[in-house]
């Protein structure tokens, strides 16, 4: 009893793209990026611990152009995931759920993450 004429509920494409959706996707993407970064974190620790793993190999990769891009990406991912994670924790208490509040906190998280990334990158 299929009926092709059935009305469809509006899907994502019908809406004006809200900033909160960008943040939601970014939270997951930065989370996965940081999971990959865990491999680099472990590589860094083993490079310090074992003579058989050359520390120069680690610094060589880290200081290459690709390594620098990756480090910058992970730094931004960390600050973004941190700030947006705190946003999620606040939501978990039932606060800041109004639409205008969610939009405002979205922009606050984005700005904070970018500013923290720049400050840390320049300071190091």
């Amino acid at each position: 009893m299929s009926n092709d004429e059935r009305p469809l509920s509006p899907h994502l494409t019908i809406y004006r793209w809200p900033i909160t959706m960008t943040l939601s996707i970014l939270h997951r993407m930065t989370g996965v990026a940081l999971a990959v970064g865990l491999i680099a974190f472990v590589f860094w620790l083993t490079a310090i611990a074992y003579e058989s793993v050359s520390y120069e190999l680690f610094t060589g990769i880290a200081e290459s152009l690709l390594g620098q891009i990756a480090l910058l990406g992970w730094l931004f991912s960390f600050f973004f995931h941190l700030c947006n994670g705190i946003r999620h924790l606040i939501w978990d208490t039932g606060r800041m759920f109004e639409k205008h509040q969610a939009d405002l906190s979205a922009w606050a998280v984005l700005v904070a993450a970018v500013v923290m990334t720049i400050i840390y990158w320049v300071a190091i």
Binding site: R28, G31, V32, L34, A35, L38, I39, F41, V42, L45, T46, I48, A49, Y50, E51, Y55, E56, T59, F78, L82, G85, I86, H88, L89, D92, Y120, A123, I124
Partner: protein
């Protein structure tokens, strides 16, 4: 009519297998990582020498080693929980999904243990 209580019927099946443990542990590890992550980046920024002996000495200090152990353990745990949710959302097919989730756990336990062992080697193994 069953005499079993509604609670008794659901315990052990569906989401009641683990209840809210997964959700809750994601939050607890998140809170821990706010503190540990902030410590890591601030402490890392304060290191005088990023040479191999300089890094070795930094990790070898008892406070840093303790904080790094906590960070590695919590990071691997939080990452494992998070990636599992992504797998559950995007990997379809029962066999593929279960295999991916198990592989995810293996990889994260491996990474966590490797980090812990490296830190212990640095703390207990003397100079590099």
């Amino acid at each position: 009519m069953s005499l079993r209580s509604p609670l008794s019927r659901v315990l052990g099946s569906g989401s009641a297998k683990e209840g809210t443990d997964h959700w809750w542990l994601q939050r607890v590890t998140a809170i821990a990582l706010v503190i540990l992550g902030a410590w890591f980046l601030i402490s890392l920024a304060g290191i005088e020498s990023y040479s191999a002996p300089g890094m070795h000495a930094w990790v070898a200090s008892p406070l840093n080693a303790t904080m790094l152990l906590l960070t590695s353990f919590t990071l691997a745990w939080h990452s494992m929980i998070g990636v599992q949710v992504v797998i559950e959302d995007y990997v379809h097919g029962s066999a593929m999904k279960v295999a991916s989730i198990i592989l995810n756990k293996f990889v994260h336990v491996f990474l966590g243990l490797a980090a812990v062992l490296a830190i212990l080697k640095i703390v207990l193994g003397g100079a590099a």
